[in-house]
C-alpha cells in the first residue's frame, strides 16, 4: 500500500521528466497527463527519479561490492575520458506492488550492463565487444519480480565509454512501475529511433524523385538542390538508425556523417539563396570548399573533437547568415512561401545551434539548463524535417504556379488567337462585302452608261426623227431592230453563268453569222480563242462586242460588202480582234464621213478598256482592228 502523498509526488516526477524531455510538446503532453491524473488519481503509478548516485571509476567487469571506493555524485553524471564506470543507485519499493518495476534509461550511448540487487539483468553491447556502438535508443529494463525487494534496493549500472564524447555517462534515469515508464520510453523511442527511420526512408524517396526531375530538367536547379539537401539529411539520419557497426567501418561511417551534415547545410544555403534569386558564385565556392575541408581533415587526422567543435561550429555563422538572409528576402518579397521558408530556416538554424551546443557539451548550456541538457534531445531532427517539408511545399507551390501560368498563357493565347481570327474574319467579310458592293456599283454604272450610249442614243435620235416626220415605217422597224440587237448584245455580253469571253463571243458570232447569211453575205470566222483564254468583266466584254458590232454594222449598212472576215488572234501581249470587208472603203464613200460610221465612238470604247483601234480603209475594203493588251483582259476590273 502506498500513501497518497507518494502518488502525488510520483505524478509530478513524470510531469517533470516529460516536460524536461519534450519542451513545449512535453508540456502539452504533461497537461494531458495531469488532467488524466486528476480524473483517475487511484491509478497513478509510482515513479522515482533518483537525484543522487554513487560512482566507481573502475573498468573492471566484475561486480563491485559496497566496500569499493564509491564516490557520491549527482544525476546526470558526466565522466569524460574514463573507459568504463560503475554507478550505484538505491531506491525504495513499497511492501506491495501491483505490477513489475522497471528502470528507464533515456540513453546509454556506450552500452554496458544493468545489475539489480547483485544480479545482472541486462547487457547492452559496448565498444569492448569488437564493434563500434553508439546507442541512440532509450532502454526500458524490467526488474524480475523475484529480484525486487520491498524496502531498499540497489541498482548497479555499468556505463562504457562512447566513441563520441561530451555526453553524460549517467542519464537522468527513472525507476518505477513499468506501465508508468512506458509512455516516456515510447515517446523517446519514437523521437530518437522511429522518427529517424521514417525520415531516412522519406528522404530516400524524395531525393530520388527530386534527382529525377533535375536529371530531366537541368534548368530546374532548385529541384536538384532540394534533392541534395534531402539526400544529405537522409544519410545523416541513417546514423541514428544504424547504431552498431563492425569496427573497421567506423571511420568511413563517421566521415560520411560529417560530409552529410555539412552537405545538408550547404545544400540548404544554396537552395535558400537561389530561391531568393541570388547567385553568388564566390560565396558558393567558399562554402563548398569549407564543406569539403571537414571530411578531408577527418580522413587524415581522425580528430572527431576538432571536427565537431570547430568545423561544425563554423557552420553556425553560416546558418545564422542564412537565417538572416531568408528573413530579409521574405521581408522584401512578402509571400507565403518566402515567409514560411524564412521561419523554418530560422527554426532550423536555432535547432542546429542548440544541437551543436548539446553535442559539444557546452558548459554554459549545462549551467543554464541542466535538466534539459541531460535529456539530450536533438531538435534538428524535427527542425530539419520541418524545413524540408516547407522546402518541398514551396517547390510544389512553384510547380503548381508554373502549371497555372502555362494554362493561363495557353488560355490567353487561345482567346487572343480566336479573337484575332474573329477580327480577321469580320474584316475579310467587310472587305468582301465592300468589294462586292463596289464591283456591283461600278458594273451598274458602266451598264447604265452603256445603255445611255447605245439604246438611249438610238431611241432619242429616232424619236427626234420620227417627230419631225422624217421616218418611214421601214425606218422605224429598222430602228427597233437595231434596238433589239442592242439589247441582245447586252444580254450576250452579260450572261449570268459565264465569264469566259469565248462563250460570250460564241453567242455574238452565232447571231451575226445568221444575220449575215440572211443578208447573203459570205462570212469567214478565224477565231483562235481557246476556252478560258480571255476572262473579262461583263462591261469590258460589252465594249469589245460593241466595237465588233459597230464594225459589222458598218460593213453591212454602208460598205455594201459581199464578204466579211472576222478574226481573233493573239500576238504576244496583245489580243487582236479584226473585222475586214470587201465593200466600199471610207475614202470612197464621200458622203459618209468618219463620224457617220461611228469610228470616233469605237475609238472611245477601245480606250475605255485600255485598247486601241485602227481603221485601214482605202477605196476598196475596210479593216477595223481592235488591240487589247492581255493584261487588261486578265485583270477583269479595268477602269471605265
Amino acid at each position: 500500500m502506498r500513501p497518497d502523498s507518494s502518488a502525488c509526488c510520483s505524478s509530478r516526477g513524470i510531469v517533470r521528466a516529460l516536460a524536461a524531455g519534450w519542451g513545449p510538446l512535453g508540456w502539452l503532453l504533461a497537461a494531458c497527463l495531469l488532467t488524466g491524473c486528476a480524473a483517475d488519481e487511484s491509478n497513478t503509478a509510482l515513479v522515482q527519479a533518483p537525484q543522487r548516485a554513487q560512482v566507481l571509476l573502475s573498468a573492471e567487469a566484475a561486480l563491485p561490492d559496497a566496500a569499493a571506493p564509491w564516490q557520491q555524485t549527482g544525476v546526470p553524471d558526466w565522466r569524460p575520458g574514463e573507459r568504463a564506470v560503475w554507478y550505484r543507485v538505491t531506491f525504495d519499493v513499497p511492501p506491495v506492488w501491483r505490477e513489475s518495476w522497471a528502470v528507464y534509461l533515456p540513453y546509454l550511448y556506450g552500452g554496458g550492463a544493468i545489475v539489480l540487487n547483485g544480479s545482472t539483468i541486462e547487457h547492452i553491447g559496448s565498444l569492448s565487444s569488437g564493434q563500434w556502438v553508439r546507442w541512440e535508443r532509450p532502454h526500458l529494463v524490467v526488474f524480475p519480480d523475484a529480484l525486487l525487494r520491498a524496502g531498499g534496493n540497489v541498482l548497479l549500472l555499468r556505463a562504457e565509454a562512447s566513441p563520441i564524447g561530451n555526453s553524460p555517462r549517467l542519464a537522468p534515469l527513472l525507476i518505477g512501475e513499468r506501465s508508468a515508464l512506458q509512455r516516456a520510453f515510447a515517446a523517446r523511442y519514437f523521437a530518437v529511433t522511429a522518427l529517424p527511420q521514417l525520415t531516412a526512408i522519406a528522404c530516400a524517396v524524395a531525393a530520388v524523385f527530386m534527382f529525377f526531375i533535375y536529371w530531366r530538367r537541368r534548368s530546374e536547379v532548385l529541384y536538384g538542390l532540394f534533392g541534395l539537401a534531402v539526400a544529405m539529411w537522409g544519410v545523416r539520419t541513417m546514423h541514428f538508425v544504424i547504431e552498431a557497426l563492425p569496427a573497421p567501418w567506423w571511420p568511413a561511417w563517421r566521415t560520411l556523417y560529417f560530409a552529410s551534415t555539412g552537405g545538408f547545410i550547404v545544400a540548404l544555403m544554396l537552395f535558400t539563396m537561389r530561391m531568393a534569386g541570388q547567385v553568388h558564385r564566390r560565396v558558393e565556392a567558399v562554402v563548398l570548399a569549407y564543406w569539403a575541408l571537414g571530411p578531408l581533415v577527418y580522413v587524415f587526422t581522425r580528430s572527431q573533437d576538432w571536427l565537431s567543435r570547430v568545423w561544425i561550429g563554423g557552420f553556425v555563422p553560416v546558418g545564422m547568415a542564412l537565417g538572416a538572409f531568408a528573413v530579409v528576402a521574405a521581408w522584401r518579397r512578402r509571400s507565403v512561401a518566402n515567409i514560411a521558408l524564412a521561419v523554418s530556416v530560422v527554426i532550423g538554424v536555432l535547432c542546429g545551434v542548440h544541437d551543436y551546443l548539446l553535442a559539444i557539451g557546452s558548459e554554459t548550456m549545462r549551467a543554464w539548463l541542466p535538466q534539459w541538457t541531460a535529456q539530450r534531445l536533438f531538435l534538428l531532427h524535427h527542425g530539419a524535417n520541418l524545413l524540408l517539408l516547407v522546402m518541398g511545399a514551396v517547390l510544389a507551390g512553384r510547380f503548381l504556379g508554373a502549371l497555372r501560368e502555362v494554362e493561363l498563357a495557353n488560355r490567353t493565347l487561345e482567346s487572343r488567337v480566336a479573337a484575332r481570327e474573329r477580327e480577321l474574319a469580320t474584316s475579310y467579310r467587310q472587305l468582301a462585302d465592300l468589294q462586292r458592293a463596289q464591283a456591283a456599283a461600278e458594273e451598274r454604272a458602266l451598264l447604265v452608261r452603256d445603255l445611255h450610249d447605245g439604246l438611249g442614243s438610238v431611241l432619242f435620235t429616232s424619236l427626234a426623227r420620227a417627230e419631225r416626220g422624217d421616218m418611214a415605217g421601214g425606218d422605224v422597224a429598222q430602228m427597233l431592230r437595231e434596238c433589239i440587237a442592242e439589247m441582245r448584245l447586252v444580254f450576250e455580253a452579260t450572261p449570268p453563268d459565264e465569264r469566259d469571253f469565248a462563250g460570250v463571243f460564241g453567242s455574238f458570232r452565232f447571231r451575226w453569222q445568221q444575220l449575215l447569211q440572211a443578208q447573203g453575205i459570205r462570212s469567214e470566222w478565224a477565231i483562235e480563242l481557246p476556252p478560258g483564254s480571255i476572262e473579262m468583266a461583263p462591261h469590258n466584254a460589252l465594249q469589245v462586242l460593241r466595237v465588233l458590232q459597230e464594225a459589222l454594222t458598218n460593213a453591212l449598212k454602208h460598205a455594201r460588202a459581199t464578204s466579211i472576215r472576222v478574226s481573233i488572234a493573239r500576238a504576244g501581249d496583245t489580243w487582236c480582234l479584226a473585222v475586214e470587208d470587201d465593200g466600199d472603203g471610207i475614202a470612197a464613200a464621200g458622203d459618209a464621213p468618219r463620224e457617220g460610221r461611228g469610228i470616233g465612238n469605237m475609238e472611245r470604247r477601245a480606250q475605255r478598256i485600255g485598247g486601241e483601234l485602227s481603221v485601214d480603209s482605202g477605196g476598196r475594203g475596210t479593216r477595223v482592228t481592235l488591240r487589247i493588251p492581255t493584261s487588261v483582259t486578265h485583270h477583269a476590273a479595268a477602269a471605265g
Binding site: F505, F510, L529
Partner: protein, 220 residues
C-alpha cells in the same frame, strides 16, 4: 401532208403575226390560235397538233406546264417555245419539259414557217448559250454523288454521247450548224437531228431527275 399548228400566245399582235405566218404557208395548217392555257388544253383534249407554239408568259398558267402536259398527252407533237432573246433560262426549262424547239419572238414570217418545217423534219435549233446550259446540266448530273436510293431504269440514266457533246461544244463556240457539220464531217441535217435527240435526252434526263428527287423526298 400539211403540218397542223396550235399557237398559244397572249399578246394579240404576236398571236396574229404567228397566225399570219402559218396561214401564209400552204403546207401549214392552223389548228388553233388561242391566248390562254385553258383554251390550249381544251384543244389538246380534242385533237393532237403536229406543232405547238407556246409563249411562256400566259395569263392563266405557266407555259412550261402547258408544254409538259402537251408532251404527256401527245408525244408525237413538237412543242416550240417562243422566246424574246433565245438565251433565257425558260428555254432550258421548256426543253426539259419536252419542248424540242424555240422561236425568237422577232423572227420574220418566213423564218417562222422555216423553223416549223425544220422542226418537223427532225431538226432542232440551238443557240450557243442553250448549248452551254445543256452541257452544264449533263455535267452537273455526271458529277453528282451516285447515291440514288431509287434505282433509275437503265434508259433513264441518260448520258450524252461523245458526238453529242462535241456538237454542243462547237455550237457553244458560235459555229453555225453547217460549220459544225463540216468540222465533224456530217451533214447539217444530221447535226440538227442530233440536237433534237439531245433535247429528248435532256427531257428524259430531267424526268429521271424528278423521279430521283421524289425518291429523295420520300414521295415514291
Amino acid at each position: 401532208m400539211t403540218i397542223s399548228v396550235l399557237i398559244v400566245e397572249d399578246e394579240p399582235e404576236f398571236l396574229q403575226r404567228f397566225a399570219q405566218a402559218v396561214l401564209g404557208d400552204p403546207s401549214l395548217r392552223l389548228l388553233g390560235a388561242v391566248s390562254t392555257g385553258a383554251a390550249a388544253l381544251a384543244i389538246l383534249a380534242a385533237s393532237a397538233p403536229d406543232v405547238l407554239m407556246v409563249d411562256l408568259g400566259l395569263p392563266d398558267m405557266n407555259g412550261v406546264d402547258l408544254i409538259r402536259e402537251a408532251a404527256r398527252r401527245c408525244p408525237a407533237c413538237d412543242a416550240m417555245v417562243v422566246t424574246m432573246f433565245g438565251d433565257d433560262g425558260h428555254v432550258l426549262s421548256s426543253i426539259e419539259a419536252g419542248a424540242t424547239g424555240y422561236l425568237l419572238k422577232d423572227a420574220m414570217p418566213q423564218q417562222i414557217s422555216q423553223c416549223i418545217h425544220e422542226l418537223r423534219a427532225g431538226g432542232s435549233p440551238i443557240s450557243p448559250s442553250i448549248a452551254r446550259r445543256v452541257l452544264a446540266r449533263f455535267q452537273q448530273r455526271a458529277t453528282a454523288p451516285p447515291q440514288a436510293p431509287v434505282k433509275l431504269p437503265r434508259d433513264e440514266q441518260v448520258q450524252l454521247s461523245e458526238r453529242e457533246t462535241e456538237i454542243l461544244k462547237l455550237v457553244a463556240k458560235g459555229l453555225a450548224f453547217q460549220q459544225v457539220g463540216e468540222v465533224l464531217e456530217i451533214s447539217q441535217h444530221t447535226v440538227v437531228a442530233h440536237v433534237k435527240k439531245i433535247y429528248h435526252k435532256l427531257a428524259v434526263h430531267s424526268r429521271g431527275e424528278a423521279v430521283y428527287e421524289a425518291g429523295q423526298l420520300g414521295l415514291l
